[in-house]
Amino acid sequence: MSRQFTPKVITANALLEGDAIWLTAEDTWSRDIADAELIDDEAHAQLRLLFAQSQKDRVVGAYLAEARADGGIPQPVHFRERFRTRGPSNYRHGKQLAS
């Protein structure tokens, strides 16, 4: 039996700025993981990933990242993904500036 599928979001870097972005359920890209589509079905995840990877003039390196719902809002699971939602720890640069 294959491993049970755990929830995911689709993330990538924006082509122009390189900033971390997430795919929403409305087929748009958001700079905030809270707007991301939380996917809990494996087949759907593969379809969404294909869609993301087809957006080659907008995004780079789309992939599935582990996520969990926190009050219905997607949150990162791994520390690397957590850093991508806020920016570096040595300066207040990147996304944490806006928050």
Partner: protein
């Protein structure tokens, strides 16, 4: 220093114009990322965790004031007001937007700089002793050789798609400040019994996943044979190097698998073939390059102000740690620390870069160096000018007196920026430096090199740190492994792993236990950490590291 010829300038401008068009085609969608990626990497442009990163070559770490000012301008205009100096003597800009990169590359070309071959499976920026041309202990300035190698390797048609990246370092002194034994090729300028100058050629060193100390392939190579011999080494590697497995593709593995004797035999065969293709024009070129690196006209002045300034304890402390002997006894080599406790190792703001440029121009014969230890060097400062220089550095918060001490830490960008990292490096460096600053133990501890890498690729040189720290991902948590007894100098040793890693919260107390163990164990205040480690071995340090952990578990 070397200035671009018309040929160099035309080449760099052509590449800049080509890259501008490539970026435009990527943005308008006519190039896919798969097509664009190799093109951007050829120009040093990476895509990292939060943004693009542009890596700019600083050949053999040498800059003039106009170049440093241009880097400051780029940092301010197209980045976030700072740059990061790396362990390959390069500078990285962490936040450029894709559309601005062609303008940045044009601005670099305006001052004779570029980002070509700072990435990809090519011969990378050639590094050299950061005290080159200034230090009292060298046979010859290694930079003309480094520049010759750069001209030979840049856009070399045979070596644009090597099995893996290829790094060359050159030193002109026995004391190795350029880590030559951890390079694909390390070159040491030596003199033979007949008094002739030549090169000791070392091959197959490297850090990363499989650290190896380089092996001598030729103990004395006549000066005129340098390029054909280097070409022979790289072409043997190009043929033999393993393209089937990225982790086994560096020349250190080729040398390890075939043995240095078999590699030497192949290199000598190849050398016999290629030698005649070098007509000697390279040696004429080298003479011209050497002329460009002629020492500046030394000034003559009374050094009394330097002696008088010793009465100031702040000046004296800085002079004790941050000055090194110059070939001219009336001069000193100044290391400007970019490691103020709490700061990011290797980062300089645009304002700091401009100040350093001004000081180099007014007090330092217009020369600056970037060290692989991520500090800035003013290689030629007359002793009479040191008090004024120190005062100016203090005013800009650049007078930290810690060169070679525990807070002078090498750290790679780690997972704060790098897409390959498995853990963060910068916050660990910040915490260690701040902790030992609070303890006021730094000078008591003395010479100690801590080097931190945020992944196995070892950009932070952790294997050759007296204390090395490697950040890993252990089951979704940052974990830091310690190696001890490493050494990156002429007595290169790969450090030994101490044991299980520590969490981000445990790593600073662990380092503190190590240091207290050293202070208890050393034979006297003059015995350094590395000497004590070599005398006693791993076990007493291991006991100190894991004592508390075991006590807690019991």
């Amino acid at each position: 220093m070397y200035r671009y010829t018309e040929f160099d300038d035309a080449f760099v401008r052509t590449r800049a114009a080509q890259f501008r068009q490539q970026v435009a085609r990527r943005i308008d969608g006519s190039l896919s990322e798969d097509e664009f990626r190799p093109l951007r990497l050829m120009n040093g442009l990476y895509l990292q965790l939060h943004a693009y990163m542009l890596r700019v070559a600083i050949p053999y770490g040498t800059l003039n004031s106009a170049q440093m000012r241009q880097l400051a301008m780029i940092a301010e205009r197209w980045d976030k007001g700072y740059g990061h100096f790396t362990t390959r003597q390069n500078i990285q800009f962490n936040w450029p937007a894709l559309k601005d990169v062609p303008d940045i590359i044009d601005a670099l070309a305006d001052v004779g700089m570029h980002s070509i071959q700072t990435s990809g499976n090519t011969i990378r920026n050639v590094t050299a002793d950061h005290f080159a041309g200034a230090t009292a202990d060298e046979i010859a300035d290694p930079r003309p050789v480094a520049e010759l190698l750069r001209q030979w390797s840049t856009d070399h048609p045979e070596f644009q798609f090597l099995p893996r990246k290829f790094k060359i370092a050159v030193t002109g002194a026995e004391a190795d400040r350029a880590v030559i034994r951890s390079h694909d090729i390390g070159i040491q300028i030596v003199r033979n019994d007949a008094g002739e100058t030549g090169y000791r050629m070392i091959v197959g060193g490297g850090l990363g996943r499989t650290p190896m100390v380089g092996k001598v392939i030729r103990d004395f190579l006549p000066a005129a044979d340098l390029l054909p011999y280097a070409e022979a080494i790289v072409s043997v590697y190009n043929q033999l190097g393993r393209r089937d497995n990225k982790f086994k593709a560096r020349v250190k593995i080729t040398v390890h698998e075939h043995g240095i004797d078999a590699i030497r035999a192949r290199v000598e065969d190849r050398f016999a073939q290629v030698r005649s293709q070098f007509s000697g024009v390279d040696q004429h070129l080298l003479r011209d390059i050497e002329a460009a690196f002629a020492p500046p006209a030394w000034k003559t002045a009374d050094t009394a102000p330097f002696d008088a300034a010793q009465a100031d304890p702040l000046f004296r402390s800085w002079a004790d740690t941050n000055l090194s002997p110059h070939r001219n006894p009336d001069y000193a080599i100044v290391s400007v620390s970019l490691k103020k406790p709490g700061a990011t190792p290797g980062d300089a703001t645009a304002a700091q870069m401009r100040l350093l440029a001004d000081l180099a121009e007014t007090l330092g014969h217009d020369e600056l160096r970037i060290s692989h230890e991520q500090n800035v060097i003013l290689p030629h400062v007359h002793k009479s000018d040191l008090p004024a220089l120190h005062a100016a550095l203090r005013a800009a918060d650049l007078a930290t007196a810690n060169i070679g001490l525990i807070s002078d830490i090498i750290a790679c960008p780690g997972m704060d920026y790098c897409a390959l990292a498995t853990a963060r490096s910068i916050p660990i460096a910040q915490k260690i430096a701040t902790r030992f600053d609070d303890l006021k133990l730094e000078h008591e501890i003395g010479a100690l090199k801590i080097k931190i890498s945020g992944c196995i690729n070892a950009c932070g040189h952790h294997h050759v740190g007296h204390i090395g720290i490697l950040g890993l991902d252990r089951a979704g948590v940052e974990n830091y492994q310690i190696t001890l007894g490493g050494d990156g100098t002429e007595t290169t040793v790969i450090g030994e792993r101490a044991g299980p890693g520590f969490s981000a919260d445990q790593i600073v107390p662990a380092i503190e236990r190590l240091i207290h163990a050293y202070l208890d164990l050393r034979a006297g205040p003059v015995e350094t950490f590395l000497q004590t480690y070599r005398r006693l071995g791993l076990s007493p340090f291991k006991a100190a590291l894991y004592l508390e952990v075991r006590a807690n578990a019991a």
